[in-house]
Every structure is written in structure tokens, then in C-alpha cells.
């Protein structure tokens, strides 16, 4: 059974995502030691420094989504099932930095689809109580694991359906954000595909640095950040970084 990591990376006018990808790939190789496939476009690919053995799949990203007024090329995650060359796939945001091998073990379960529902705010500000912003529990599509088969296929087919009628679902679930978010698309799809009942999750709280938090140093083992006048750090802990200015660190 083949196992690997699938990453999506598209530069925008505002953010050089390829530089974030370079750091993420380095940590995956070091800590997860899994084969990697990057879904990208040729313009982004041209900017990448040599990353060693990596598979690439080229697509033209769907445009039109925005976040805080800037272009946000996040809409293609629903194609992960078709794009992944692996039997078991770990899909990760490229701004999720695996400083441990924690995620590797989840590729060895008998679950067909796993995603986390919780995030841990490393700044202690409590930015991620998402439940009050919609009528549905949000999942964090930052990290998801799926095993190819009818169950995972059903989830991704439902995500495609949700995406197609996202405006309707957005209104129905009274989601405050108007832009397309994979977190909600997957949350809605999982609820719909599982008969509006519970579904299996990954019991991890995704350690996250919120957008207003500035990364001041990043090494192979950890990350330091500044929030207001407080500086803190963590080592050997996977971290999701929402402030894209980290490319300049």
C-alpha cells in the first residue's frame, strides 16, 4: 500500500507561497520521511529551488476566492482524491510545519478519512473558538488523511457538491465568512455524507499561530514568535502558521 504527502502550492501576487513550501518540504523529509507530491502551476514551479526527489502535478488553480482582500488560491483541495498517486494520503497545508513525526502514524490506521476538529492557539488568546461563527462544527482541513476507497470517495464527491453550491450551504449553516473555506466545505460534506451524525476524527488539537502573530525565527526543530510585546517559542511540536510574512524570516 503506497503512502505519501500531497501538498498544494500556488504563488499569488501578494505571497510567495513557494518559499513556504520549501520549508515545509524540508521538514517533511526530515521528520515524516514520506514521499511527497506537490500540486502546483508552472509559474510557481519555476520559482522553486531544487528540493530533491519530489513528484509534481501541474494544474491551473481555480481563481476568484479571496481572504482579507487578497487573492487566495485554496479552492482546489476537493481534487486531492484524484490528484493523489497514493493509496493512503496525508494532505497538508504548506504552512503546517511538521517538527515531529506525530502525523506519520495516522497513515497506519483502518480509518478511511480523518480530520481534526480542534486547534490550539499558541498565543493563548483563544482565537479559534470557531463554533460561534456558524451552526456547524468546523473541521481543520489543514491536515487530513484519507485512504482511497468508496468511503473517502463519497466524502470528496460531497465536497465537490458543497463547493458547487457553496453560497447556499454557507447561508444554510449561517457561516459568518463569505469566502470559500475548505474547513467549512469539509465540515459540511462530512456531516452530510455521514447522515448528519457524528464522524470519526483525529484526536489532535492543531497548534496554531494566529494571523496577527509574527514569526521571528524558525529552525529545523522549532519556531519563535512575537505577539504584542510577548515573545515565545516551541520546539518539537507541529505548528500551523497563519501569518504568511514568515517567508521573510
Amino acid at each position: 500500500m503506497t503512502k505519501g504527502v500531497l501538498l498544494f502550492c500556488f504563488d499569488t501576487a501578494e505571497v510567495q507561497y513557494h518559499r513556504i513550501l520549501e520549508r515545509c518540504v524540508s521538514l517533511i523529509k526530515r521528520n515524516l520521511q514520506l514521499e511527497i507530491t506537490v500540486v502546483t502551476n508552472f509559474e510557481t514551479f519555476k520559482q522553486l529551488k531544487p528540493l530533491g526527489f519530489i513528484n509534481y502535478k501541474f494544474i491551473e488553480p481555480e481563481l476568484g476566492n479571496t481572504k482579507n482582500g487578497a487573492e487566495w488560491r485554496n479552492v482546489d483541495r476537493h481534487m486531492a482524491y484524484e490528484l493523489s498517486p497514493y493509496d493512503v494520503t496525508l494532505v497538508m497545508d504548506i504552512d503546517y510545519f511538521p517538527f515531529t513525526n506525530n502525523l506519520r502514524q495516522f497513515l497506519n490506521t483502518d480509518y478511511d478519512f480523518l480530520v481534526s476538529k480542534d486547534a490550539h492557539d499558541l498565543t493563548n488568546v483563544g482565537s479559534f473558538n470557531m463554533r460561534k461563527w456558524s451552526m456547524i462544527d468546523m473541521v481543520w482541513a489543514t491536515v487530513l488523511i484519507f485512504k482511497k476507497g468508496p468511503n473517502a470517495r463519497r466524502v470528496f464527491d460531497t465536497v465537490k457538491y458543497v463547493k458547487q453550491y457553496y453560497h447556499y450551504f454557507n447561508e444554510m449553516y449561517r457561516i459568518r465568512a463569505n469566502n470559500f473555506r475548505n474547513d467549512y466545505a469539509f465540515a459540511i460534506a462530512l456531516q452530510q455524507a455521514n447522515g448528519f451524525a457524528t464522524y470519526d476524527t483525529m484526536p489532535l488539537s492543531i497548534a496554531t499561530l494566529p494571523p496577527r502573530c509574527r514569526v521571528i525565527k524558525m529552525t529545523n526543530t522549532g519556531i519563535a514568535w512575537q505577539y504584542d510585546d510577548h515573545i515565545n517559542y516551541t520546539e518539537h511540536q507541529d505548528v500551523h502558521v497563519l501569518n504568511k510574512e514568515l517567508v521573510d524570516v
Binding site: 506525530n102 483502518d110 480509518y111 499558541l122 515565545n232 507541529d238
Partner: protein, 105 residues
């Protein structure tokens, strides 16, 4: 103590509290362990349950983190895995906690 010193101490205490909370969360993440294709927490409750059941049977059933039943056919191996992961996570937390007191020195 002047107000400047009080603010300094308060900020330091806050930073230590956040660091402790993050270190504990890191330990909780590390306590999650996959065994026999199912997900468990290598916490005190699971370890005690497995140890207790191991004393009464060679094979038994437990629930994973998604409340799915799993048959354990090698209780000793499972217990060993749980204890190793538990001590790895808590030991790391212990190492980290020793640095809290040094902050501000």
C-alpha cells in the same frame, strides 16, 4: 515593589503560564498513539484500564478515541507501547517545565 517591577513580574508570569499551557498541549499531542490500526491516548486512564484487563484475560476489547471497539490480542505489547509513549511525552514536558523557572533569570 514599584509598578514597573510589578508589570515585569506579571508579564513574566503570563509568559510562563502560556509556555506551560503549550508544553502541556504538546505532551497531549504526543500521547496519541496508533496501535493495531486504531487510535488511542496513552494517558493514565488507558494505561490503568489495559493493565487491569491484562490481569484477567489474555484477550480483551477496549474502545479507541472514536469509541470504536478494538480487540487486543497482545496485552503486554500494547501496555508496553502505551507506557513508552506516555513516559516519552511526560518526560519531555518535565524537561520543558524545568526551563520555566529559569525564565527571567
Amino acid at each position: 515593589m514599584d509598578i514597573g517591577e510589578l508589570k515585569k513580574q506579571s508579564d513574566l508570569s503570563y509568559d510562563i503560564a502560556v509556555a506551560k499551557r503549550n508544553a502541556l498541549e504538546k505532551a497531549h499531542s504526543r500521547l496519541v498513539v496508533v496501535y493495531n490500526e486504531h487510535i488511542f491516548r496513552a494517558d493514565a486512564e488507558t494505561i490503568c484500564l489495559v493493565r487491569t484487563l491484562k490481569e484477567t484475560a489474555d484477550r480483551f476489547f477496549v474502545l479507541d478515541t472514536n469509541q470504536n471497539p478494538v480487540e487486543i490480542t497482545d496485552p503486554a505489547g500494547f501496555l508496553q507501547t502505551l507506557i513508552e509513549r506516555n513516559q516519552e511525552a511526560i518526560s519531555s514536558y518535565h524537561q520543558m517545565s524545568k526551563t520555566f523557572g529559569k525564565r527571567g533569570d
